[in-house]
Structures are given as structure tokens and as C-alpha cells.
């Protein structure tokens, strides 16, 4: 293949799938890894070292809820000592002042805190737990410890109307950065797609509110708005290219080019227990499958936008067309765009007839 493979910049380390919350929009796979399948402390330390040797500079410690791993401090120390920028991606539950002070002393650089709604009533309903008040406390702790804070909100039908209040909440919490991300339909979110899909009216109402806030808060709080891609004309530049910048390590040690890639069942799955990380990055079939442009077919192959969006998301192409090398069906040039339009029409019909299903809350799969 004629592709120069650069070293990865970032690693998403999903330390565990366990989580005290039950968000129906969760992008974790429906088949959650059980605790007994998680990598040990020694194995995670080795993964972090291998990642740094490979060129990783940013380590995102996520999950599930990373604070449920008692070895989190050790992992932060190792990643930071090796020169990585360490980011904690958390629901905030369990983020006490002594714990965060310790993590900060060990080199933690940044905290990304998720919030489910603008007030406790709404947020706790979506989280499936009494969580909101504890998140407010967690944000205060981040402030007291003096770490930079990003607030992350996943937007969907059940909270889209709160977008203005969510921006106000992030300001109140002293966030340096607010990510308002429309739901990406992977894992539990795909299962709940009909209940989560925002209406065109909601999206249209949110747009001017977000635009005005971006202007008003410029220089104080950066707002990143991630659009609802099913409603877009062109797909997102997923992962800035497959196997280009980031890798994900799942709780059980599976190594994936993107957090959702386990849905592509036609690709072999690599694991750090059986193959060195560098070999997985440079040589594995799964990481090389969609690198560069050789894999592309029409219309992407000759499209002027292919260097900009890389043909969109491989996981979405697979989930919606059954073919991982198809053009992302979100694209208006895709022969399969009718699949996405059909989904939007069916969801619109469900809303009109009052037939929107209840959320299926995220729960662990029962292990037999």
C-alpha cells in the first residue's frame, strides 16, 4: 500500500465498561466487557508504555467510569511521567477533592466532565441515577484543584430544548470549554436511535442559540458544536482518517481504530495480550483496512472531498449498508442515502403518531 503511516497522536484508554450511570445514549457497545475481562494494572501500565514508545502524546482515560479503577492514580503517574498529556473523561461520580488533588499532583492535565441535562430533574432521568448534584460538586472540585475543565453534553431529543440552559450551566460551572455533541449512533445510542433522534425543529431552534453563545463567550469559554450527521449533506471526517491519529484500547485489551469499530464484524480484532501495540498499529489488517484511499469505491474514489472527509465513518457505513468500504450513507452522493432518509422519515412518523419508544437504559449484560 502506498500510504505513509504516521505514529498515533492519541490513545483512548477505556479502562472499564463499569459505570454508575445508565445513559441510553452511551456509545459503549451493547455487549459490555465484564470486570473479570478487564486488563490488570500491569497490563495497562505496559499498554501506556508501548503507546508512548509508538508516539502517543495524549492519553484519554475513559470508560465506562475510569474512577472505578482503584489503580487510576498509578496509570496517571505513568502516562504523565512518560511525557503524555493526560485527560480524565468522567461522569464525575467519585471525583472527590482528595482524589483529584492526588491525580493532579501525579500530572493529570485536564478533566472532561459529562452532564446529562441542565437541571437535576431532567439530567437524572436521562442518567438513570441521582447524579446531577454530584456532578456540580465535581466541577467545583476541579475548580478548587485548579485544573482546566471541559464540560461534555450529548444532545438528543430529550434534552435538545435545554441547549441554552446547558450553555448557562457550563458557564456557571466555570468550564474552559463546552462540547455540545449531537448523539453519534453507536452502541446503546444505536439501540435507542428512535427515542434519541432530535426533530428538525429542535435542531433549527438550537442553531441560533449556539451561534450567539459562541460569539458572546469568545475568549472565555470555547464552544464546540458537533452536528447531527444524519441531517447533514456530507459526512463527518471520522477520526480524521482511519488509523491516522488515534487508537482505542477497550477494557479487555482489544485495540480498535475507533471506539465503535467492534461493530465491523468482518474485521479481525487485535488484542494487546496477543500482539505488540506497534505491530497492531503498523501491520494489522484492521488498522490498514481503510488507510489512505485505495479502499475507496465510487463515488468517493474520484470525489473532490475525499481528502477532507475520508469518505465518512466506516462503522456507520457497515451498520447501515452492511459494507464497511461503502461511502458513508449520510453523504448525499452515496447511492445509499435513501437508507438514512428512510430512517429519518420513520422516526418522524413515530414522533407524529406519538409512537416514540421509551429509552432502553444502559445496563450490563447478564453474564451466565
Amino acid at each position: 500500500m502506498d500510504v505513509t503511516v504516521e505514529p498515533p497522536l492519541g490513545m483512548l484508554a477505556e479502562l472499564t465498561h463499569r459505570c454508575p450511570l445508565h445513559c441510553p445514549y452511551c456509545s459503549n457497545p451493547v455487549e459490555l466487557a465484564a470486570k473479570r475481562d478487564e486488563l490488570t494494572t500491569e497490563q495497562w501500565l505496559a499498554v501506556i508504555e508501548a503507546a508512548r514508545d509508538l508516539g502517543v502524546l495524549q492519553v484519554h482515560l475513559s470508560g465506562g467510569e475510569p474512577l472505578l479503577r482503584p489503580d487510576l492514580p498509578e496509570l496517571v503517574s505513568r502516562a504523565s511521567d512518560l511525557g503524555c498529556y493526560v485527560n480524565l473523561v468522567t461522569s464525575g461520580l467519585g471525583l472527590t477533592k482528595p482524589r483529584l488533588t492526588d491525580l493532579a499532583e501525579r500530572g493529570l492535565a485536564h478533566v472532561q466532565l459529562s452532564v446529562q441535562g441542565a437541571d437535576a430533574a431532567r439530567a437524572d432521568l436521562i442518567a438513570g441515577a441521582k447524579a446531577h448534584a454530584r456532578k456540580i460538586d465535581a466541577a467545583a472540585v476541579v475548580h478548587e484543584v485548579g485544573l482546566p475543565l471541559s464540560v461534555n453534553v450529548v444532545l438528543h431529543r430529550a434534552n435538545h430544548d435545554q441547549v441554552g440552559a446547558l450553555i448557562a450551566l457550563a458557564e456557571q460551572l466555570g468550564a474552559d470549554r463546552l462540547e455540545l455533541a449531537n448523539t453519534q449512533y453507536y452502541g446503546w445510542a444505536l439501540r435507542n436511535r428512535t427515542a434519541l433522534m432530535p426533530t428538525p425543529g429542535q435542531l433549527a431552534a438550537a442553531e441560533p442559540i449556539v451561534r450567539a453563545a459562541v460569539e458572546r463567550l469568545r475568549g472565555r469559554m470555547e464552544i464546540v458544536y458537533v452536528v447531527a450527521d444524519y441531517y447533514e449533506k456530507y459526512p463527518k471526517p471520522c477520526m480524521y482518517g482511519w488509523g491516522a491519529r488515534q487508537l482505542t484500547v477497550a477494557p479487555n485489551g482489544d485495540v480498535l481504530p475507533c471506539p465503535a469499530a467492534s461493530v465491523i464484524t468482518t474485521l479481525p480484532v487485535e488484542n494487546v495480550r496477543s500482539r505488540p501495540l506497534a505491530e497492531i498499529w503498523y501491520e494489522s489488517e484492521s488498522f490498514n483496512a481503510f488507510r489512505g484511499e485505495d479502499w475507496m469505491r465510487d463515488p468517493c474514489r474520484t470525489c473532490d472531498f475525499r481528502a477532507r472527509d475520508f469518505g465518512g465513518c466506516r462503522c456507520q457505513a457497515f451498520m447501515l449498508t452492511g459494507d464497511a468500504s461503502a461511502t458513508d450513507p449520510v453523504c448525499s452522493r452515496s447511492p445509499d442515502r435513501s437508507v438514512v432518509d428512510g430512517i429519518l422519515a420513520a422516526e418522524d412518523a413515530a414522533v407524529r403518531s406519538g409512537g416514540v419508544p421509551e429509552f432502553v437504559m444502559r445496563t450490563p449484560t447478564v453474564v451466565r
Binding site: P7, L9, G10, R52, D53, L54, G55, L57, Q58, G83, C84, Y85, N87, A109, H110, Q112, L147, P148, S150, D176, R177, E222
Partner: protein
């Protein structure tokens, strides 16, 4: 120029041995400054103004003008890496 530049909260400047270059790390990503820019950023301590930074750089590089420093800093301010105190 409004005062003294420093790296924004949450931004770190380090040397990456794998790529053999300075790198700027922050929540959204990674930037690779060139050697001159890295030298400027290393001196952004929030206590020195542009003239002082230019003078200090002058001992390492020849012909450094305050404008050059200002240009570099403006670029990084746009990328939300540098702020002024």
C-alpha cells in the same frame, strides 16, 4: 501589545523524543511548533514582555526583532495556545 504572554491553562510544551521535536499539548490536540516558535514559547512565562523575550532570544539567534516575536505569538493566540496577562 497588551502585556505579558503565557501559555493558556491546560497547555503544555514538551519535547517528544519519538518525533524529535517540540510539541504543544492541549485538550483538543497536538501542535508541532518550528524551532523558532518553540524558543519563543519556552520564554512565555507570564512575567516577561515581548521586548524582554526578543532580547533573550537575541542571545541565541541573530537578528531577532520584537515584531517577529509578536507574529509568532499572534499565531498561537489564534490557536488558543497563548494568552496575555
Amino acid at each position: 501589545m497588551p502585556g505579558k504572554p503565557r501559555l493558556r491553562r491546560g497547555v503544555r510544551l514538551t519535547f517528544d523524543k519519538v518525533r524529535d521535536t517540540h510539541v504543544l499539548l492541549f485538550p483538543e490536540g497536538v501542535l508541532v511548533p518550528n524551532a523558532t516558535a518553540a524558543a519563543v514559547l519556552e520564554l512565555c512565562d507570564g512575567a516577561s514582555d515581548v521586548d524582554q523575550i526578543a532580547a533573550r532570544l537575541g542571545t541565541r539567534f541573530r537578528g531577532v526583532r520584537a515584531e517577529d516575536v509578536t507574529d509568532v505569538l499572534a499565531r498561537f493566540e489564534d490557536r488558543r495556545v497563548v494568552e496575555w496577562t
